[in-house]
């Protein structure tokens, strides 16, 4: 469905919801609710994806060929056959990497301008 001829950089920048979904699917296949839980776990509850944003983003990502539905089922004990599982495509993975590179470039640029977060006590969450 996606246009494989496009270069990964042409999909950038990604929205934060799309990046959250890509990070959640980075190392495993998940269903919608699993993605929500993973985003919440990774951000210590600071970020929560609501169903509308999640499925609208998934719809767009599927159309662009960044994610696809998985035909294989995960571990039978954890599987819920009624649910659809999603995974990153090769293109999706490349786009995620390109986005991370773009963000790294931004962080480097910010450092060079002295725009870095002030030191905070170890263990404190970012942005706290």
């Amino acid at each position: 469905m996606g246009d494989q001829a496009r270069r990964p950089e042409e999909y950038l920048p990604l929205t934060s919801a799309v990046m959250d979904i890509m990070l959640a699917l980075g190392d495993e296949e998940l269903h919608g609710y699993g993605i929500m839980r993973e985003v919440r776990r990774r951000t210590d509850g600071r970020r929560r994806l609501a169903p509308g944003t999640l499925y609208r983003s998934l719809r767009q990502m599927q159309e662009k060929g960044l994610v696809e539905e998985s035909e294989e089922r995960p571990d039978a004990d954890l599987d819920d056959e009624r649910r659809r599982y999603y995974r990153l495509t090769d293109l999706g993975r490349k786009v995620a990497v390109a986005e991370v590179e773009r963000l790294e470039g931004l962080v480097r640029a910010a450092r060079s301008k002295g725009l870095v977060p002030s030191a905070r006590p170890s263990g404190a969450p970012a942005g706290a």
């Binding site: 496009r6 950089e9 042409e10 950038l12 269903h31 919608g32 609710y33 929500m36 929560r48 609501a50 169903p51 509308g52 944003t53 999640l54 499925y55 609208r56 998934l58 719809r59 009624r82 649910r83 659809r84």
Partner: protein, 381 residues
């Protein structure tokens, strides 16, 4: 375990399940805000996920957490449903609400409005004669003053109701020798108290203006007589024909201009509403039939009146000019297209965005600039 604790726990669980079920049903109903294609694909998953979110919320923070889940989900639902509908509208923009269809719909609406106006002219004109009856007390020449005003106004209300009654209709029909029934007569008779006064306004509608006048004045006379006869002896209530009805000069209906304008406005509102809210209608069987019908109307209209289609032709010519510029130069920005063609920057932006959204153009980013180009397969050999 104490049986009372067990009962209490059971009741709480049942209450929670009922709350969750109601919550899920409401959420399921709200999902209709999304376009049908989106619902078909994701609604089941969204309902299931929302149930899990609600259950988790209730377990973690009770009712207040469920309210927070609802608040977040509801605002997200409204925003994403609007965005999704707008995406679907943009995708379907060409067939259902493109300029060609809009022009055809306008022509159809105008034709219907003209037909309604002409049909109105063929209807029998109706004339309305009005008279005023003053309710008062014996001994007073004009409207009452002081404490009795309120009482008289209450009586006025009652008499207004009594005027549109069968005995009044029968007596008037008999006096004038009319060939009608009391039911038909009462449909044509109106009696309304004038607010904060002791007046009743009587009006009668009829195709014959002289007859309308005679009936209105006769009803006034019948009311006066009846009040003097049946009113309580001590109260001395009177009903006086204060302002006899003149012969009406102008018909109250039909009003071809008003009918035509109302049809025109309603038709336009209906078209705009359908175009905004129901883009998928065009893709349905009924929608296609309507499109075919409007297409025929447009063709007939052009054939008969030579309706100019210059704006449509201009739009097509500009689109061709834009595509030729892209073919010559390979890839262009919005401003680049404006420089190479007769299009303004706004026109170029609008056309490029629309063509790209429909997948007719390739979009790329180079040195921070958005470039539009023809797909390789579309470039003429």
């Amino acid at each position: 375990m104490d049986p009372r604790d067990w009962d209490q726990g059971n009741r709480r669980r049942r209450g929670t399940n009922l709350l969750l079920a109601a919550s899920q049903r409401l959420y399921g109903a709200l999902l209709t805000l999304y376009p049908e294609s989106f619902r078909r694909r994701y609604a089941a998953e969204m309902r299931r996920d929302f149930r899990e979110l609600s259950r988790e919320g209730l377990e973690e923070g009770g009712g207040s957490e469920l309210v927070r889940v609802w608040a977040t989900t509801l605002s997200d639902l409204v925003v994403t449903a609007l965005k999704e509908r707008s995406t679907v509208s943009a995708r379907n923009a060409h067939p259902p609400v493109g300029p060609r269809l809009a022009a055809r719909a306008m022509v159809a609406v105008v034709l219907v409005a003209l037909t309604v106006a002409v049909a109105s002219l063929a209807m029998t004109p109706q004339y309305e004669a009005s008279t005023k009856v003053l309710i008062g007390k014996q001994g007073s020449e004009g409207p009452a003053l002081g404490m009795e005003i309120q009482q008289l106004q209450e009586v006025t209300l009652t008499l207004a109701q009594a005027t549109r009654s069968r005995p009044i209709a029968e007596e008037t029909i008999e006096r004038l020798g009319l060939s009608t029934t009391p039911e038909v007569f009462l449909e044509r008779l109106q009696a309304e108290p004038i607010e904060n006064t002791q007046f009743i306004e009587l009006s009668y509608t009829d195709p014959n203006p002289e007859k309308a006048q005679r009936v209105a004045n006769t009803v006034g006379g019948v009311i006066s007589r009846r009040v003097s006869e049946v009113g309580p002896g001590d109260s001395g209530m009177t009903a006086t024909l204060w302002e006899p009805a003149p012969v009406p000069e102008n018909a109250v209906s039909p009003n071809p201009l008003r009918n035509g304008l109302l049809t025109l406005v309603s038709g336009l509102l209906l078209f705009v509403g359908l175009a905004l809210a129901l883009p998928r209608v065009a893709a349905s069987g009924v929608g296609r039939a309507v499109l075919r019908a409007t297409s025929s109307v447009g063709w007939i209209t052009r054939a008969v009146w030579r309706v100019p289609t210059t704006s449509l032709a201009t739009e097509a010519a500009k689109e061709k000019e834009l595509l030729e510029a892209l073919d010559r130069h390979g890839a262009l920005t919005v401003a680049g297209v404006a420089l190479e063609t007769s299009l303004t920057v706004d026109e170029a932006d609008r056309m490029l965005s629309a063509l790209a959204a429909k997948g007719h153009l390739e979009v790329s980013v180079a040195r921070g600039r958005l470039l539009y180009s023809l797909w390789e397969r579309d470039v003429p050999l």
